[in-house]
Amino acid sequence: MPVHLVSRRPSPTTASFTVSNASRHISTPAKLFFYFQFLLRGIVFAGVLSFHAARFRHVFFSQDSFVPWSTVWSSSLGVSLCRIADTTNFAVAALASVLVLYGVFLKGYTEESLLVIRGLGIQTSTSSPTYLFKAATRFIPTTEIQDIVIHEAFKGFEVRFYLAVVVVGEPEVVVVFPKLLPNRAKLEEVWRGSRHCLYDSKP
């Protein structure tokens, strides 16, 4: 998936750079598909939940509380659901539903960002792979930033460029976009922009 960079500069002292490998949904069908897949995720999620509800209907969902369970289970959809739930092997079904639930919450893309605020510091963030967790962030105050550099390193069978922040007192540098590792042109744009924002230096 192609990585793209979005840089925003709401004020001269603030800059935010976001790289992402998500598709950008420019055309109308792409947008429609994007919302459709949310709908699909919802349906699948509801399906898995109702499957397990049907499996445990005698334990938890037998009394009529504010939901009339007995009418739900005796409806035509409820009867077929109960039949499927009772006939399938539970171990297989449990494993499959865990995988499906993970798939429902899986984002399918990675988004990494760098937020630079002059006089305050910079914050790097890497999105989590699922919708369940927040992005992992790291804030580095200006006083601890020694330098921001672009360098190369071996990764797998390749040599890749990376943007790194040298932090005072730490033996290892903080890599800014560690998962996506965008190409040199993008890194140079981020490097120029962030240095300009931090130090007001002419690039």
Binding site: A153, F154, F157, E158, V159, F161, R184
Partner: protein, 489 residues
């Protein structure tokens, strides 16, 4: 026309040594001539990743398994993906491998030919033909060199050796000697560097006192104490030399497996007060040890070039050495006394050298300036550049290889190695009955691997690295510029 050159070898800094400093010096001088040079070597302890040295020399320390004496595991193909990536991102045109024992270098040459790049190989050492290890190495060398574009040897003896070992066309082998940085090897009584630079005002320098008949003469030996460096000869010769010349002292620097034999000899003959052993020294300290002596003794049994004797002569030492390998080519007659590699002759030659010094027949104080004129890395770089031009077709084959009217046309046309697979296979097939087929198999697999890599890691996805910014005055390779460069070093 500037080239993008990749120097590939297992041997590079931080490990000290002759090949390592050769690669470094040559690369720096080539950069001065406007080329772009990178070095590919394996990762050393504490030295990994991508590094820059002085003058924008980029070094890739590829993480790789090291098996024996800093040589990597010969895996033939596993180096290819990372090598291809580096070559593409640095836009390399010429791959220059160094040293026959480096598996990195052989693999790089094979892969570079598969990728359609020009290749040069520099041989720094001599090998035998008889023992099993040599036969294996020679076969491997033949494999790599069947398809190399040009070979550089450090001396004519080395060239002869390589031509025989790899069955090469002698015209494809050039001889470019090593050089020394003469400024780092100045005699004790030389003027300091700043005075020397001005040149116009000759300083009154304190001339060394001539050696009297009873003055102590110090003989320096700096070598790794291995069998092939002639340590056994040294062990046999030292007591005899000291017996016949009471006013002689020895300084021996270096370490190795023969050090224990040497120490035993000293104890047996009670020579500890006349022979000083100072153990292994760093390359920067070599000069400081050398200037303590008057004669440099080099009893090596095999030597492709012998940079150390040039360094010794540059320090103003009279050189006694064995007439082996490329050594006789290195220094002019008046700086050296030659000996056969046997005990009696070494004793005789050393005695001759001592008496020559005592009678003030040798003007050792002039050696430094003479060596400075003879050996310079700038000159080495210029000659290497000519090789690059020759293989890239920037100078005509007639000019590069020489024009021989009686020559058969086919022999001449074969020197320019084309990249088509079938022609490459033909060259490899001639390597031997079984070896030829095996080598062809390797080449075919390498080619398939290359096409696979082109699909799996497309060229378009590889970032092109930025070149080190060139200095403006050195970008133009005009004639006065060349002369200025040539005169300063």
């Amino acid at each position: 026309m500037p080239y993008n050159i990749a120097m590939v070898s297992d041997f590079f800094f931080p490990q000290p040594g002759g090949v390592e400093s050769h690669i470094y010096q040559l690369s720096t001088k080539l950069i001065d001539r406007g080329h772009k040079v990178i070095i590919i070597t394996h990762a050393y302890k504490g030295r990994t990743g991508v590094r820059y040295l002085t003058n924008g020399l980029k070094v890739y320390h590829v993480p790789f398994l090291v098996i024996y004496r800093e040589t990597t595991m010969p895996t033939v193909f596993s180096f290819f993906p990372i090598f291809r990536n580096i070559v593409i991102r640095e836009q390399i045109q010429i791959v220059h491998g160094h040293q026959s024992l480096s598996s990195f270098c052989h693999e790089a040459i094979l892969h570079a030919r598969t990728m359609g790049l020009r290749t040069v190989f520099t041989d720094h050492s001599l090998f035998g033909f008889a023992d099993a290890g040599s036969i294996l190495t020679n076969k491997l060398l033949k494999f790599t060199l069947s398809d190399v574009d040009h070979v550089i040897c450090v001396s004519h003896t080395c060239k002869e050796n390589t031509v025989l070992r790899a069955s090469l066309d002698p015209l494809m082998v050039s001889v470019i000697p090593n050089a020394v940085v003469a400024e780092n090897f100045r005699p004790l009584h030389a003027t300091n560097r700043t005075n020397d630079r001005s040149g116009a005002t000759p300083q009154i320098q304190p001339t060394p006192r001539p050696i009297g008949p009873n003055d102590i003469i110090t003989i320096v030996v700096i070598s790794r104490l291995f069998y092939n460096k002639g340590t056994d000869l040294l062990i046999a010769a030292i007591p005899r030399i000291l017996a016949s010349h009471p006013n002689v002292r020895f300084i021996i620097a270096g370490s190795g497996p023969k050090a224990i034999d040497l120490e035993q000899m000293l104890e047996r003959n009670v020579l500890q007060d006349k022979v000083e052993m100072i153990g292994a020294i760093r390359h920067e300290e070599v000069r400081d040890v050398m200037v303590r002596g008057h004669i440099y003794l080099h009893p090596s049994l095999t030597e492709a070039f012998g940079t150390v004797i040039v360094e010794a002569a540059s320090c103003g030492l009279y050189v006694v050495c064995t007439r082996v390998g490329g050594i006789p080519e290195v220094l002019p007659q008046h700086m050296t006394t030659f000996a056969k590699p046997e005990e009696d002759d070494i004793v005789l030659a050393t005695s001759k050298a001592i008496s020559a010094l005592r009678s003030n027949k040798v003007r050792t104080e002039r050696f430094h300036d003479q060596v400075k004129v003879m050996y310079s890395w700038t000159d080495v770089a210029r000659r290497t550049e000519r090789v690059y031009k020759g293989i890239s077709g920037d100078i005509s084959p007639q000019e590069f290889y020489g024009y021989y009217p009686g020559e058969i046309q086919e022999a001449g046309s074969d020197r320019i190695r084309n990249f088509s697979l079938i022609d490459r296979l033909k060259r490899y097939y001639g390597c031997g009955v079984w070896a030829g087929k095996l080598f062809c198999l390797c080449v075919v697999i390498d080619f398939l691997l290359y096409t696979f890599l082109e699909m799996w890691f497309p060229r378009a996805n590889i970032d092109i690295a930025r070149s080190w910014p060139k200095k403006l005055n050195e970008a133009n390779n005009s004639k006065p510029e060349r002369e200025r460069l040539g005169s300063t070093s």
